[in-house]
């Protein structure tokens, strides 16, 4: 159905971004109020769109009365709106944490956060390839600036590394876009999807390499994950929450939307028989290796933020491994693990920040005696760990279990990779249980820590995330329903094309 007001998901944050700067001149508090109101608007409007899509199917927003394939249009599907709602929730938590902190640059940071909100809303809703590139660039610049907010050497170095790798990625994306435009003469995703099979296999290989290379950095895949160590440990807590729970998921959306819905994964898995490598084997190998490397990097780190950062990258690689199996069960498994990661990572960053509050060195020893210092956030941390590693009943448990069954059903190369990867996840168990163990160890040396103050926003955010995790865990049929709808939408190439190209329908 046509519903043009869905453009407000992007337009309102962009407008608020400017307003936040203007009103910030008079009062910094006004910028913070604008930020919170805009996020709440997007969240409420997102719920409204979710209901609309559930009842009437995909939404198409036509801009300037140019019906697709001409002009720029927005195409919102069940997959994009469900992911958007989860991401808005994480963004809301992150904004609340930012709002309660005193910062002289509050107006500028609010404006930046609103730009960030507009850009990821745009990436998830756009139906145009070049438009997606523009939003990716805005998203990257907002990310870079947010990472460097702390102003020390580490955060600046981290953000510059991120800038270099994302600039190369963006160039590759634009090369791929130009290549597709040169061949098909369109930038509309539905039109590209419709005509993709007409492209010669040689060109498909180029397109595959360009687009895969472009999002590898954001996907935190080895060897493009070198920016993680500085970026996570050097940035502020609310930025950590955005990086782990949001940025990576946006990149994952681009991967799924482009490679499965638009291009169609079989388009790549069947073209490669005449190549020295087969994409069917190449992708699981890259992602499997990435899980192992990220797990080992997390194990060898002493800095808690770095451990959580590499663990986040490892979880993302596991999701990608599930997707690269190219089967429906793989996508279901990826969605279940994805829900756990989106909800548990912010919870882990938030609670670990509170546990280590007042201690100068943020290494694993700062967790010593944490339970006695801060029992509430220690419990939240443990809940976060259990959700992530796949404790029975949590979505992650079903996801990993399904992946294991899928891999062992028929002996193949993917079986081998998946089993190696699943065993490497035991490393995750080791370093998380090491942290949990530290929480209960009485301190031998006395730390100079300030007594942890009760912070209402942290408590509220932690509780909100925990309640949502518990809800997803105790309502398996509700979770199953959502996951199945998402999976159907991801594979529904013809449905996507039909909903975009039925020009003229009101």
């Amino acid at each position: 159905m046509n519903y043009n007001p869905s453009v407000l998901l992007i337009a309102i944050p962009v407008l608020s971004s400017f307003l936040s700067l203007i009103f910030g001149i008079y009062n910094k508090l006004l910028s913070k109020i604008i930020l919170v109101i805009t996020v709440l608007f997007n969240l409420i409007f997102g719920v409204f769109l979710y209901n609309l899509i559930s009842k009437n199917g995909n939404i198409l927003a036509v801009i300037g009365n140019y019906f697709p394939p001409f002009g720029i249009n927005l195409s919102i599907t069940y997959f994009s709106i469900s992911l958007l709602l989860l991401l808005y929730l994480i963004f809301f938590v992150s904004s609340l944490i930012f709002v309660v902190k005193k910062d002289e640059r509050a107006d500028k940071i609010s404006s930046l956060l609103l730009l960030y909100l507009a850009s990821f809303s745009g990436i998830l809703t756009t139906g145009d390839l070049f438009n997606m590139f523009v939003f990716i660039e805005i998203f990257s610049i907002a990310n870079i600036t947010l990472i460097s907010l702390k102003g020390n050497g580490l955060s600046t170095k981290g953000s510059l590394k991120y800038l270099i790798i994302t600039s190369i990625g963006a160039s590759l994306f634009l090369f791929g876009t130009g290549f597709l435009y040169g061949i098909l003469g369109t930038l509309n995703l539905a039109e590209i999807s419709l005509n993709f099979d007409k492209i010669s296999y040689f060109s498909k290989i180029f397109i595959f390499l360009f687009f895969l290379g472009s999002i590898m950095a954001e996907l935190e895949v080895f060897p493009f994950n070198f920016w993680i160590s500085d970026s996570y440990s050097g940035s502020k807590n609310f930025v950590n929450i955005l990086l782990s729970g949001l940025s990576s998921m946006v990149a994952l959306y681009i991967f799924v939307r482009l490679f499965i819905t638009i291009f169609g994964l079989p388009a790549f898995t069947t073209i490669s028989y005449s190549l020295p490598f087969n994409v069917k084997f190449l992708l699981p190998t890259i992602f499997g290796l990435s899980v192992i490397v990220n797990e080992l990097a997390a194990l060898s780190s002493k800095n808690v933020k770095r451990i959580l950062g590499f663990s986040s990258a490892s979880s993302l690689s596991l999701i990608l491994l599930s997707i690269s199996t190219g089967q429906k069960d793989g996508i279901i498994s990826a969605t279940l693990i994805g829900i756990s990661v989106i909800l548990s990572k912010p919870l882990l960053f938030l609670s670990s920040h509170q546990i280590m509050k007042g201690i100068k060195e943020k290494n694993i020893d700062s967790f010593v005696n944490g339970f006695q210092r801060n029992p509430f956030f220690s419990i939240l941390f443990i809940i976060g760990v259990f959700t992530l590693i796949g404790f029975p009943l949590t979505p992650s448990f079903y996801g990993k279990f399904l992946l294991f069954i899928l891999a062992t059903e028929k002996a193949s190369y993917i079986t081998l990779i998946t089993i190696v990867v699943i065993f490497s996840i035991t490393i995750e168990l080791f370093y998380y249980f090491r942290l949990i163990h530290k929480l209960f160890v009485p301190s031998e040396t006395k730390f100079n820590f300030e007594k942890t103050k009760k912070n209402f926003v942290y408590i509220l955010s932690g509780l909100l995330l925990t309640l949502i995790i518990i809800f997803f865990s105790i309502k398996p049929y509700f979770t199953q329903n959502i996951v199945e709808k998402i999976t159907d939408d991801v594979f529904d190439k013809s449905g996507y094309i039909k909903s975009c190209l039925k020009s003229g329908e009101k």
């Binding site: 070049f130 523009v134 660039e137 990257s140 610049i141 870079i144 600036t145 460097s148 102003g151 020390n152 050497g153 580490l154 600046t156 170095k157 953000s159 510059l160 800038l163 270099i164 600039s167 190369i168 963006a170 160039s171 634009l174 090369f175 876009t177 130009g178 435009y181 040169g182 500085d230 440990s233 002493k302 800095n303 060195e361 943020k362 290494n363």
Partner: protein, 123 residues
């Protein structure tokens, strides 16, 4: 002399590879940023060459071209030009942010060599 579109594609791809090589092998931050700019330039050449049709006219409606007919349809595609303009603006923005960060790093570490940026504030 007329240059074939394919030659332009290959030319831009070679420049792009030079940029990638520079970004990977250089240790100096400014040289890395210059390499990124070279990559962006290569991209812009590629996109502009996409819209060019050999022997075509510029896509401007002149007084003699009131309607589009087969006689005057041989114009170059204006869309890639619009894309290039956007890409240039984005490229300038990214480079400006990069230079700002490089200056900040220089003030902090007193060097632009990425290998010599010690871990004095790392944990």
């Amino acid at each position: 002399m007329q240059i074939d579109n394919r030659t332009l594609y290959i030319f831009s791809f070679i420049i792009f590879l030079i940029g990638v090589y520079g970004a990977i092998t250089n240790r100096n931050l400014f040289k890395i940023l210059i390499s990124l700019s070279i990559m962006e330039t290569a991209l812009n050449i590629f996109l502009v060459s996409l819209g060019y049709i050999s022997g075509s006219k510029p896509p401007i409606l002149s007084s003699g071209m009131k309607t589009i007919s087969p006689a005057n349809i041989n114009i170059s595609d204006p869309l890639p030009h619009a894309l290039v303009l956007t890409a240039i603006v984005i490229g300038v923005g990214t480079t400006a942010v990069g230079v700002g960060l490089a200056i900040k790093l220089f003030n902090h570490y007193k060097t632009l060599n990425i290998n010599r940026m010690g871990d004095k504030d790392e944990l």
